[in-house]
Assembly symmetry: D2
Amino acid sequence: MLIETVKSEIVSHLSYIVGSNDEAAVIDPRRDCQVYLEIANRWAAKIKYIFETHRNEDYVTGSSELANLTDATIFHGPGLPWRFGETLQDNQEIKVGSLKIQALHTPGHSPESTSYVLTDSEAGDQPVLVFTGDTLFVGDVGRTDFLGEEMAPVMSGKLYDSITNRLFPLGDEVIVCPAHGAGSVCGGKISEREISTIGIEKKTNPMLCLSKEEFVKQKTAEHHATSPYFRKMEEFNLYGPSILGAIPHPRALTPSEFKKAAETAYIVDTRTAAAFGAAHVKGAFSLVPKRLSNVGWVAEYSKPILLVVDDLEALDFAVRNFVRLGLDNIVGYLRGGVEAWYKEGYPLAKAGLVTVHDLKTMVDSKETIRILDVRRVNEWMEGHIVGSTRIYLGHVPEQVDQLPRDLPIVVICKTGNRSSFGVSVLLRAGFDQVYNCLGGIEAWIKSGYPVTRTDEKA
Amino acid sequence: MLIETVKSEIVSHLSYIVGSNDEAAVIDPRRDCQVYLEIANRWAAKIKYIFETHRNEDYVTGSSELANLTDATIFHGPGLPWRFGETLQDNQEIKVGSLKIQALHTPGHSPESTSYVLTDSEAGDQPVLVFTGDTLFVGDVGRTDFLGEEMAPVMSGKLYDSITNRLFPLGDEVIVCPAHGAGSVCGGKISEREISTIGIEKKTNPMLCLSKEEFVKQKTAEHHATSPYFRKMEEFNLYGPSILGAIPHPRALTPSEFKKAAETAYIVDTRTAAAFGAAHVKGAFSLVPKRLSNVGWVAEYSKPILLVVDDLEALDFAVRNFVRLGLDNIVGYLRGGVEAWYKEGYPLAKAGLVTVHDLKTMVDSKETIRILDVRRVNEWMEGHIVGSTRIYLGHVPEQVDQLPRDLPIVVICKTGNRSSFGVSVLLRAGFDQVYNCLGGIEAWIKSGYPVTRTDEKA
Amino acid sequence: MLIETVKSEIVSHLSYIVGSNDEAAVIDPRRDCQVYLEIANRWAAKIKYIFETHRNEDYVTGSSELANLTDATIFHGPGLPWRFGETLQDNQEIKVGSLKIQALHTPGHSPESTSYVLTDSEAGDQPVLVFTGDTLFVGDVGRTDFLGEEMAPVMSGKLYDSITNRLFPLGDEVIVCPAHGAGSVCGGKISEREISTIGIEKKTNPMLCLSKEEFVKQKTAEHHATSPYFRKMEEFNLYGPSILGAIPHPRALTPSEFKKAAETAYIVDTRTAAAFGAAHVKGAFSLVPKRLSNVGWVAEYSKPILLVVDDLEALDFAVRNFVRLGLDNIVGYLRGGVEAWYKEGYPLAKAGLVTVHDLKTMVDSKETIRILDVRRVNEWMEGHIVGSTRIYLGHVPEQVDQLPRDLPIVVICKTGNRSSFGVSVLLRAGFDQVYNCLGGIEAWIKSGYPVTRTDEKA
Amino acid sequence: MLIETVKSEIVSHLSYIVGSNDEAAVIDPRRDCQVYLEIANRWAAKIKYIFETHRNEDYVTGSSELANLTDATIFHGPGLPWRFGETLQDNQEIKVGSLKIQALHTPGHSPESTSYVLTDSEAGDQPVLVFTGDTLFVGDVGRTDFLGEEMAPVMSGKLYDSITNRLFPLGDEVIVCPAHGAGSVCGGKISEREISTIGIEKKTNPMLCLSKEEFVKQKTAEHHATSPYFRKMEEFNLYGPSILGAIPHPRALTPSEFKKAAETAYIVDTRTAAAFGAAHVKGAFSLVPKRLSNVGWVAEYSKPILLVVDDLEALDFAVRNFVRLGLDNIVGYLRGGVEAWYKEGYPLAKAGLVTVHDLKTMVDSKETIRILDVRRVNEWMEGHIVGSTRIYLGHVPEQVDQLPRDLPIVVICKTGNRSSFGVSVLLRAGFDQVYNCLGGIEAWIKSGYPVTRTDEKA
């Protein structure tokens, strides 16, 4: 048995390819799926099957794309009116070389959620590993809020049962391969470690130390952000997204072409927060590479995208990640970057940049400013600056109009990247005294400045 | 915790890099160690430590090379007069970011063999995985014959104790990361699967189902080939091999320069068995890429090497793998390949090539030939052609002079690659009617031709 | 002014990209046109124009493909009913940054043939270089036989006039950038050097030392091979070939899939002549990479192609070059190569392989063989083996049935590559005693064996 | 004959590799010389000779480096006590395959300057091209000031004679391949076009339209900047620089390691001018990639270098270019970039950034500022802002202490990159109100703001 993990960094998505005797199968492929073909080529194996653990909500599945290139059969779990692929029944088995992959229906995260248990004939009937999708993560379990608030208790109960009645019996020694790692919006506190076993999770996963009642209570009390683009993903992943064939190649636009195109498109600037602050094209969203998926909070699927990037590598990264979110309509990028723009004498926009030391001085000098903290509630509760207000980053676009415009606003997050997006949203809304705090709460704390843990009031 | 496995294919060597909070550690690095730097760069982590599970016998350690590029500290297990790095005592712990790596002295394969247990503060004190070196493989255990026949029972007993008293107590759920995968000469029947857990091994590893007495008996009865280059590796790995700095770049030689250089060097031809059979430079050893380490049976460390390869990619592959065996003295390669050679009108040597159907016809027609099977004894016992003689491939060079030269010899292995090396050894020894059987026993059996499993007599 | 030459090796096609002030133009792009985008990106320039020197006969133009990716305007010369792009009139000028590109109608090779004269405002009105297409090569001039034998004298006269009346007046100092280099079938004796000037050509090009009368006489007497695929190219290049979007990715086929697919496809084996001789899939054409365009002699545009290659790099090379010939229907390649094939026990075909020394021995021993020389007539006239018969390689497929089958045939060319294709054609036609002479006439002569220059009788 | 130009962008250095019949020669190789090996490999040729047109002043020659990898012989022109390589006499010839390369002693730029005339046996005795080194450029001629002011008239006269008496007689049709392109400090107004002929230069090169007297007068009157690092280069290139073996790999330093290392090293920040302005490590020099060679004005060869870069590609670019200047002692780079730095809470320095519109407003509102223009005198004379002061960029470091500190200073150049270096020099000198004008004079003029051409007074 050969196995390789393919990680898609921004959405912290983990997909897997397994191979045996010239045959291979992929679990939860991503849309830019050339990578699986390359691995299979290296193994001299042929991708025969694609397994989906569930209808994903946070990225566009690459199953159709990969099937198109390989003739592989796509398998889903039971319970959804899939428009593509085939549905496996609970306990149904598929052979891949000398491996056996068995569907284990594990509803909870979603009704159709299915885990796949792998046995390796070299090790007899002993299950070796299980692909748990969004059912069980390392250190956490899947969200149960997608069917709405009323259904959350039911789904949480199902999730508990799936884990304890279906996964636990596989044995402590079975390796757990989940669909997401740390940073995914599909879990709250997924561990950075991407590999575990049933036994380790039983002992160390905080959710699995609870009784069913406590488990359901805690799951139901969780607050997760649901980016509006999720609905679009669900639609794509049920009906089958359109086939790309190849990663799109956005056109290089001169400053004047870019200016014209910007009239009907929106601009995403993926340069660093510092560079964005120093000089950007007016109206651009600031989304550094590792925070690109936040585009989901403002993306309009019918509107074209323009990019401002540092170089061609950054362009490829942005395009690839947008494609994973179904944002294929990237019409061009600013050739020569912001430098080409200002060499034309075209107007530049700026955002204020402050260090934590600058901010401390502002606070100490009783300068009248507002501090807007855009982190998640759990981050906020671990420590924030006294007097700051919290609005979760994703909610800033819809709440921006309710923010007072009388005072300068300093936006802060953990390090200065998410806050740069927040700043760009405020600038687009016409705010004119907006500062990004470079270094964020992390640098603030490292510098020995005080934070409070008082529960959020705002 | 981040982890990545780096596999070196020919010697089936598995090394690992783990990272946490900008720090990284490498376990058993290979000598062409740029790969670890690239991963660490991707993680934005710094390699601080290098752990060696034991003094390797089958490849040159890359610890010094990597330490030279990173200032990392090298750690060894106790019991050998190491000339480089530092020795860890049993149970001593090293921190790597939020990880803890603890030395667990597990002698048996060798006196200094040490496993490294990793705990991840995200999962409390629970051991997450263990790097078992050559102590425990997936589906097998390490060799115990390196200290000689007399010591084998003692070492086997130690190995049993190390596994059962030190590794088993870690818990069924702990992930096992061994130093070798299938195909390594450091184990007999290592599984192709490269990941396991203590629990899976306890249930499915055939060696771990035995009593200590049976275990020692079976280990002592094992027959392993010990390539003469192993001594050289042991020397390198105790004293610290010389620093390469960069992979050597062999010079491109014209046919006439190659001819001249060949007077004092030996030639390795890495093209396919078919291409070698069709036309090669006289005297060359036939070693297809995946069988390159067999050069250990004939390598002379003081003598320069010349290469005949298909293209620059094949050249890089050969150089890289030779360097892993400490064979750095690669002086050049034949520019333009065998084609350049014969375009000069230089003489070509050939090897006969027969398909399994040709061979069947020869056998059926009672043609007087010898069939020389060069597989391992365990492969032979699973089925061989009636009337064939077995000499293990590695022993052909030293036994070649005892082989009768009166009849044509057809050399056979599993598929035709190892036999091509055997053929080349015979040709160098002056045999003139030598055939390589393309497809080998595998094609023979697939074609429905008969084999016997009668115990080896030869 | 920036300029780069892009060479497509097999058809010895030279295309050019020039740039100035963020604008770029491409002359005679090839179909796998990503390379121009990469250069333009490096220059931070935008490809605005594409110039075609003529309707090419030996490869599919990449103009439409490139225009599709860039919105560039395609320009042609006058006189053909182009179905795509725009027609430039004689002397019409286009600006590219600070450059001026002027159409110079230079019929002769074909009626619409147009050269493009480049002036650089940095050097005033002084023409700097001229893209001569197939009108003027380094050391030769274009073919004039494409309109048929009767038209050859007229076209030759036009060509003479175009060169002497339109190109010569540009000045001795003007740099000449032709559309083909040595080895192209579009010229007879094009120099290996790919750059020249009007002055150098006037002094050293043998064709330009002739009077118009002699020129026409000599051009009319030339014998060129016209591969049947040329008609297809002309059709593509007049109407505009279909848009590829991306280079096709042939599927990896298992031996059994390959076997099945081969029932309705033809097989091209691009491995070395030696490897092909040693073992190949029955029925395959032997076409080493640098001779791939010979596929044009046997290609059927409606029939799918299967490939046997050494590795993925060789696969990419073959696909890319087939696409340049409009052969897009490449359905798959043999995964694992011939080795995978024979490991299944599937039957292998062989071709005999002889060195020049073997051949000399055969000849000397009066062994009754036929020697079939497949080189061009001009190569033949420079020296061939006494008693050999010549049939030009491209004509072997149509004449194969007229060849006697009573004796063994040794096929020979210059080095052994083209002869391998000849051998494969004979084997497909059922000949059973066919040998390829490795090293060919080149090695024969270097070995000091005798040749004759007696005019061809055959 | 095969030829390829290898361009090193920052120093606008042009080197060449020519090949014929498996042999190759390189003219004026750069120090990171792997590129020539790759081309030679592609040609299946062996680099036998290296020709130096003169002892270079602006970069370290790669001759020794390349000779070390290839055993090629290095040839120089006559007249200097070379410590490596061999000296060719005037008119001496060397054969490279079917090519002939003849030394043509052409003193003037320097006493030993030598051009190399190439003839191609395919074109008889006709010279095809000439490598003119720093004797003749496209649109300009070499500098004659390196031996000092007194010698300039003599050297200028020699240069005139070399060009008219040695190069012109080769013929109008001969192609000119110079050692530098536009932007080189070795010429004043070299054309962007990198290829020419003797005839084109005779007609269009402004220097070649002059009488000898005028030529000498004009050359003597020229003012060139001579970076202090030139002396170092001359020393390296006479004695032979040390062998690198491989491009150095600077270590990734954590912010705290970087901080410590910075105590004894100097920092070069290669990010964009905007990013530098927004946030940088105090004391860093701002040198965007294409302006890296300006490091020569401040480099201390005995002091280690630290880098702040955008990514690993930018790191490679910086290292490669520093190595070309003999700056091998690059000890490390800031891992994680400036973001990692400010996440630690480490202090950030900033530079003011103004657009041309901001600057216009400042000027119009009679705000009391100084405008420091750091362009070359010839750029300045083509138009500058009224009231601005000019100090050539390279002279800012030595004159910085004479600048008044009472008013804010806006530094301006053509686009904002060189001025960023100027800004960083001022900041290091303790100036605290320093602004970089993004867009520079180019954007200023494009925005329709007024400039004066009044001769420089300052």
